[in-house]
Amino acid sequence: MDRGERRGSTAPGRLSALQQQLVWALLGSGLSRDVLVQAAGELERERGVAGGDVADKVGGESSEEGDEESPPPIYKELEQLPPEEAARQKAEVDQLLQEDPWHVAKLVKSYMQQHNLPQREVVESTGLNQSHLSQHLNKGTPMKNQKRAALYTWYVRRQAEINQQFTNAGRGLLMGEESGEDVRKGRRNRFKWGPASQQILFQAYERQKNPSKEEREGLVEECNRAECLQRGVSPSQLAGLGSNLVTEVRVYNWFANRRKEEAFRHKLALDVPFNSQSASSSSHTLSTSPTHDMKYSQQVTSEGLASSGGHHGDRSVGERLTVSPVQLEPSHTLLETHHKPASGGGPLPPVSTLTALHGVSASPAAPQGLIMASLPSVMSLGEPSLLIGLTSTQPQTVPVINNVGGGFTTLQPISFQQQLHAPHQQPITQQFPGHVGPSSFMATMAQLPCHMYSKPELSPYTPSSLLSQAMVITDNSSLGTLTSLTAVKQILSTDAEDQSEPPIQESSLHLSSSPPVPVSSESLELYPASQPVDDQPPHLLTSSPTDMDPYIPAQMVSTAQ
């Protein structure tokens, strides 16, 4: 059999002619490329790699004939070739450990972004805590050396793996691709669109929402090319993209999802009349979701919350807060409302809109120091840009003060959830006039008129606790310098001491006529015990007023509803 010994010429992509034949045969037998690739990885795992690519690691030339010619080990080490590569990688890890951690973190992060690697993979393979990892990479939160070593080890290893993938891209069988992933996750990483590809797709989407198969295939090529370029690799090295390789199916799904998304948005827009008073209007991120749950936002004014900026929760006294009307509900409700599809809507909206919604609705739910009102007709906080001094972190809390004299045109009923865990704290509910004007609702510290606090009904309670639940709310005109809390405190405590039982009444629980929303156990509520301060009869919240040994000094006086 002399003829049998002739070597196959180097085939394109370094595949021998026979290999090509075999691959072709496999593909022709009904195997899809993906299945073939995947199977190859699995088999390799089971049996080890025999063949030329191992020679790469050894450093020798990779021979087309594979086993026969070069002496590569038959079984590829699971992770790397022990002696040389391991040493090299360890040295690199050590070097990284010497560098500035933040600098290396940026390096790692950018590599992950470039190759679209999920954090989850790192977590699974290093055992690091994902939150810690994220904070370390994004914000520079310190990480101990041992953990950084684990991270860098993964980084170096993964880098080697990807480089290998790219160099082997020409080969039909993508060996080694799975090795890093199989052990971790059951299968490969979840596919993720890269920014470059998405850009291409969006542009194409604008041209045509429903591309044909040929067009999709064209987009596949374009996207893969872009992704390779992003990784600094020649566009033909597709294998290196690994699980993020763009295929027709992905493109098809992408277009389908975008179309569904658009239809959904369109539907929302039709079904729900966009209430300008709703909180969500002010929530700039909620572009797709009008607030439907109007039941909670009847008296809500849409605020320029978005315009006012973000968190003010921790601002010290004296700053202006813009509070957007928000449905103050336990967070879950808030989430719920945002997520609820339009009235006629059926199932959940397409995935991506959900993502957007999540981002928004989640925020008001857990802002630090956000005090959520639990009143129904309460402003919903689109963003946690709420109340000064209401953060539990702040030692000084601001009593909520309604500046009676100032006119409450912009005030709205609010009740808060106290985030402190003080025992008998009751929520401060404040009712604001229902006719909330277009002006933003401002919550600030304002000078407290003393008279407001000289209520005989103040019961003796520690001022601090009182104060902790107070919020100062005034309208625009009365914005001004805030008195120090201590001043208020003093006033309040004085009052408190003077008082006997009856709870503070004008404290302001002037609730709107709408049924009070059940308050969570931790919410603070201020009930006007008996006589209203103004003419307005206070409405009691669900929490019984009797519990109000209100140490809430802050008198929230509400004007006309």
Binding site: M1, R3, G4, R6, G8, S16, A17, L18, Q20, Q21, L22, W24, A25, L26, G28, S29, G30
Partner: protein, 105 residues
């Protein structure tokens, strides 16, 4: 070659009358002394030959019907017959057709 279906039938005379001429045109010859067909394929080199064989093999497995064959370098000799019925059956015809297709590059 085990089939779970009913016993495989040998080709009827009518079918033979119809099909064998076609096969003969494709260079399949009837084997002397047995009810089988035979053809020889020659390829450019071993790789092509073996690639061809691989394709046929995959199909054979799929059909659960295997050829008798011989290969030396670039030559492949194939004999098709059905053991269960002791002669030609529809499967042989199907496989022969596939083989012819697979041999074309």
């Amino acid at each position: 070659m085990h089939t779970l279906a009913g016993k495989i039938q040998s080709l009827t005379a009518e079918e033979r009358e119809h099909l064998l001429p076609l096969l003969r045109n494709a260079q399949w010859v009837e084997v002397v002394g047995r009810d089988a067909i035979y053809k020889e394929f020659i390829f450019k080199d071993f790789n092509q030959a073996f690639g061809f064989m691989s394709r046929v093999a995959l199909q054979a497995e799929k059909m659960d019907h295997h050829p008798e064959w011989f290969n030396v370098y670039n030559k492949v000799q194939i004999t098709l017959s059905t053991h269960e019925c002791g002669g030609l059956s529809q499967r042989d015809i199907t496989l022969a057709t596939f083989i012819d297709q697979a041999s074309v590059f």
